[in-house]
Subunit: 314 residues, 2 copies
């Protein structure tokens, strides 16, 4: 067990309230005055979750988006945020604040409070956001999938990972891929509409394969993913070519902030109708199976799992 | 204006929801399903808010306590916390988790969620906690005091500041002062009971004088503080002697996590009865006045304000 896994295990012993969902979900779900609040806190650190020369307004956007993606996966509507901000170079701070406004406004989320700290000189910034949302009547968890359910994903997979790789190589094109890395779009509306249709839902943040394995493990079932069914964007296919290496890289890259969900086969037409209505692709990528573990297929051919399914850190 | 003040000003423009209280209060107050939630997020950073060789369990305690002190000042009962944790040296992490359990349990606050991040090697840790509380029928703000109100403070002032000074000098006695620095006790019960009696309330975190100036400014009145009325502990008086220097240091030291509040004179007997009932000193330290600004008195003698009223950072 990694030291991070051991640490999270020791926290789990403290998270005995049912609202904590055993620290196994994207967010907590707390009942207050007859309503259900969805609560999440994600941090991003300079040099780990964003690049030091990423534009500060994009970092603000990402901080908001990664937290809202957790709300989206629970079908919640944003109601407010608390910011934890490490102060640093003044013009960077200013540009961050200038970017935070439009990011919050884009999702109708008011800033409710927070804290600023001045770190010792040279320390990498650590930024945190707590996002609160109001849930609908059903708050999907990661744990409700059953064998026979289809697995679905929203949008396209692998674009952000390709964008990050390009930036690390000093390239800034194709812009569509860079944009997906810097300005992820949390699928709030889709999440709200899907909440009543799915048996389990989470967001894809660490990589499709590792997150699919987590959903299946939480649901105590196995899963089979069809590499050839993964929705890849034209920009990604143009860059990498439509081969197995491109598909494996996309499936394990992370930073997608798409929705991954399981649903019984009889929900298929309702999900397809929703995709049409929202103008957002919702694609079947496999299914839940009896047993445990993750199987990967390309057509009917079994494919060995890559050594790395995604980011192991949470 | 400092760059931090400018940054917070720019955030204030985004905090237009009334629940944010203009970012001028200790916490946000959000109405959900007919109840009022109190929400706060405070961060502590290694080398800034705690010493690198402070015991990890005490750091966990402090992270919990500083956030609960904000809830106490709004009269709220804790209902849950989200943790933002920077991973580092494994045995430190383990000792932190072992201390977090008792700290949360001491205040009946379950852990609901959070996030862990691995920072680049050598980066100082940044720890954040979001605390949620359920408010009573009245949520005192900093802004309700009027001229003629008495100013009060709970417990004793200056102990934690003296404890920090001792630690920085390599001393670990008197234990009572070290303990006040490392294990502050948020005044939750007192805050809940005082909420209906006060005209304004906040916690003392940055220094009594600077925080009293903030309460008066938020209330658009002036204030006069009587140095000779400040409640100082026997341990502090034994260490420093009962002179003006000791009292000025205590009033500007910070880390007290006591309650500072204003109340009309006709509430005096109710407040004194509450102090007796709780076994917690509640001491008059001055009054609110017409006008603006802070006056300092020793008996009837005006005393010049010290150059530094407390910590300027939030």
């Amino acid at each position: 067990m990694s030291s991070e896994a051991a640490f999270i295990d020791s926290l789990r012993a403290l998270a005995t309230d049912s609202a904590a969902r055993g620290l196994l979900d994207d967010a907590a779900a707390l009942t207050v005055g007859g309503e259900t609040l969805v609560l999440t806190h994600d941090m991003i650190a300079e040099g780990v979750h964003y690049l030091p020369d990423d534009p500060p307004a994009d970092v603000a956007w990402k901080l908001v988006a990664v937290n809202l993606s957790d709300l989206a996966a629970k079908g919640a509507r944003p109601i407010g945020a608390l910011l934890g901000f490490s102060l640093g170079e003044e013009s960077w701070d200013r540009a961050f604040a200038e970017g935070l406004g439009p990011a919050l406004a884009a999702f109708g989320m008011p800033l409710l409070g927070g804290d600023t700290v001045a770190l010792p000189a040279g320390a990498p910034r650590v930024l945190g956001l707590t996002a609160l949302g109001r849930a609908g009547p059903i708050v999907p968890s990661r744990a409700g999938a059953v064998p026979g359910d289809r697995l679905w994903v929203s949008g396209s997979i692998g674009d952000a990972g390709a964008g990050l790789k390009l930036l690390r190589e000093g390239k800034d094109e194709p812009a569509a891929l860079i944009e997906r890395y810097r300005n992820p779009r949390p699928r709030l509306q889709a999440g709200q509409r899907l909440a009543g249709l799915v048996s389990a839902m989470m967001d894809v943040s660490d990589g499709l394969l590792i997150d699919a394995a987590r959903l299946a493990a939480a649901s105590r079932c196995g899963s089979a993913i069809r590499l050839d069914w993964l929705p890849l964007s034209t920009a990604l296919l143009d860059l990498g070519g439509d081969d197995r290496a491109t598909r494996l890289a996309a499936a394990s890259a992370g930073d997608d902030y798409e929705l991954l969900f399981a649903a019984p086969p009889d929900r298929t037409s309702a999900i397809e109708a929703l995709a049409d209505e929202l103008g957002l692709p919702l694609s079947t990528i496999g299914q839940c199976e009896p047993g445990t573990g993750l199987r990967l297929l390309d057509g009917d051919m079994p494919v060995p799992l890559p050594e790395r399914l995604g980011f192991e850190h949470g």
